[in-house]
């Protein structure tokens, strides 16, 4: 695949923009072209926040992607908004801790990640975005787990006490996705 686009969406404060940035950095580390473009505006404050990350082996044309290959949705409004946009054959990563529905689309694969719960077990609910990132990496293979781990260490290492929590969150999310075999898993 020469170009892959993933949208991360949720409430402001859930860390969706950060999750997307970490993906962009990981792509960059692997020598790929990347673009990260956030939604911004009124939505910045409290409403839905989302960003789209393009990871590509060729020069990126339009950074605005209407139909991404993947959506990682962190809350219900994002689920409603972004699921219809996913490209056929694409991937949906759902934070099932907060979203109690599943898609009826049959042309995409869906993976349910109880990200809040996993994050809490890892040490802090705040790490839910890292759980989602881990699950995305595990399900999509756009970047390697090794790269993602290195980036989390590099970018989130400043707060020393948080690093083990984030690394654990990443790993648990990743494992869940790999174990689920990228198929529909009902919680």
């Amino acid at each position: 695949m020469s170009q892959y686009a993933a949208t991360f969406a949720g409430f402001g404060g859930q860390g969706v923009l950060t999750a997307g940035q970490l993906l962009a950095y990981s792509g960059m580390k692997e020598g790929k072209q990347v673009a990260w473009i956030p939604s911004y505006g009124p939505e910045m404050r409290g409403g839905t926040a989302y960003c789209t990350v393009v990871v590509s082996e060729v020069r990126i044309g339009s950074p605005i992607i209407r139909n991404p290959q993947c959506a990682c949705v962190f809350n219900r409004p994002s689920f409603d908004k972004f699921v219809p946009w996913i490209r056929p054959g694409g991937l949906l990563v759902v934070n099932s801790s907060l979203i109690d529905v599943t898609t009826d689309r049959t042309d995409i694969s869906e993976i349910l990640v109880p990200a809040n719960d996993i994050a809490m077990q890892a040490g802090s609910v705040k790490a839910l975005n890292i759980v989602m990132l881990g699950a995305f990496v595990g399900a999509s293979n756009v970047v390697s787990f090794k790269t993602a781990k290195a980036i989390v260490q590099e970018k989130m290492g400043a707060k020393r006490e948080w690093l083990p929590i984030n690394l654990k969150a990443l790993e648990e999310g990743f494992k869940l996705a790999v174990d689920s075999g990228k198929t529909k898993v009902k919680a």
Partner: protein, 360 residues
């Protein structure tokens, strides 16, 4: 790096170790970035009371002969026009970055290109122009910001970098040159540095004698003519003799057109893109040459504004080929699909479609 941060860092590395600003979405990250960064490099960071004041602080700062810049977004840029006109008149170099948002008025904060006229036709009162550079990627935002300082110094004129909200907010990989090397520039022997052992330097734009005023305008005009000769920059994408359509678009809009061109190719429609990098001076001749090619049936201008650059393209093509326009405004970014159907329409390949505006 995020576009806004990349621009900030580029300016710093080009030697502007001072920054005067006033917050406005969607470029406030430049200020936030530099508020942290300037103290690290021992530079000056100051948030002014308004864009009006900020641009005039820039006027004072530029008078020292040091490199200086500011960033803002459309409504803020309007307030800065007073000082920009004065600086052009007084022949002071500086760089102004406009991360454009939708207008007129307070408009909206989403990406737009609707300040094209304001940027390329001068913007404030009086007979002057600004060299205007329009990046389409974050790397280019870095390169062109640095270049803008050079051009500003070379011509002793304010220079402008225009990006849309996407350029400001988007994050892409960028490389900064190890060391910023640029061609030699003349010494700034006009700066106000204290009248020690020389006659006082007076930095002014007031010329009461009409003969002197006209002379100043002629000096400025000659600079702009020289820019037209020496500073035109543009990029071609997918340009070949087979092209039936020529798209002209700048900034991030041009990237959307690239995607459209790629997809049109798979439909068997051959289209090329000419992307002006300098909006002033405008690549008139290059557009004329491309449009004149035998196979070209139509020229399509795509903008996130209502047919502003269209007029300059029309002027460049001088009636050689029909020039069509497609644009969206108010922060609605055209999709590659929309651009594709606009190309098909201009080629008459989409039956029943309304032909876009065409000037007779």
């Amino acid at each position: 790096m995020k576009g806004n941060e990349a621009i900030a860092e580029a300016a710093l590395r080009a030697g502007a170790n001072n920054y005067f600003c006033y917050p406005i979405t969607p470029q406030t990250e430049v200020a936030e970035y530099l508020a942290r960064r300037m103290p690290e490099v021992g530079g000056v960071f100051l948030q002014g009371e308004s864009e009006l004041a900020v641009a005039n602080m820039l006027f004072g700062a530029a008078s020292t002969g040091k490199r200086c810049f500011t960033t803002s977004s459309s409504p803020g840029i309007s307030l800065m026009q007073e000082a920009i006109s004065y600086m052009a008149g007084a022949q002071l170099p500086c760089v102004i970055v406009n991360i454009m948002r939708g207008g007129p008025g307070l408009g909206g904060i989403l990406p737009a290109q609707s300040d094209y006229y304001q940027a390329v036709k001068g913007g404030g009162h009086g007979d002057y122009r600004l060299p205007v550079l329009a990046p389409s990627s974050i790397q280019e935002a870095v390169d062109l910001t640095m270049l803008a300082f050079h051009i500003a110094d070379k011509y002793r004129n304010p220079a402008m970098v225009v990006g849309d909200g996407m350029i400001g907010q988007m994050m892409e990989a960028v490389e900064f040159p190890e060391k910023y090397i640029e061609p030699p520039l003349p010494p700034k022997d006009w700066a106000a540095t204290g009248a020690k052992g020389r006659d006082p330097h007076i930095i002014k734009s007031l010329f009461l004698d009409p003969v002197a005023l006209e002379k100043n305008s002629q000096v400025l005009h000659e600079k702009y003519e020289q820019m037209k000769r020496d500073e035109v920059r543009f990029e071609n994408y997918s340009v070949s003799p087979e092209n039936e359509a020529l798209i002209v678009a700048y900034g991030t809009m041009a990237r959307i057109c690239q995607t459209a061109i790629d997809e049109l190719g798979s439909e068997g429609i051959s289209a090329g893109l000419l992307r002006p990098i300098t909006l002033f001076p405008f690549p008139e001749k290059q557009i004329y040459d491309e449009a004149s090619k035998k196979n070209i049936k139509a020229v399509l201008v795509v903008e996130m504004s209502m047919a502003q650059m269209f007029e300059d393209v029309e002027r460049a093509v001088v009636g050689k080929k029909p020039v069509h326009f497609f644009g969206r405004t108010g922060g609605i970014v055209p999709t590659p699909e929309e651009v594709m159907s606009a190309v098909r329409r201009s080629l008459g390949a989409e039956s029943g479609a309304k032909r876009p505006r065409k000037k007779s």
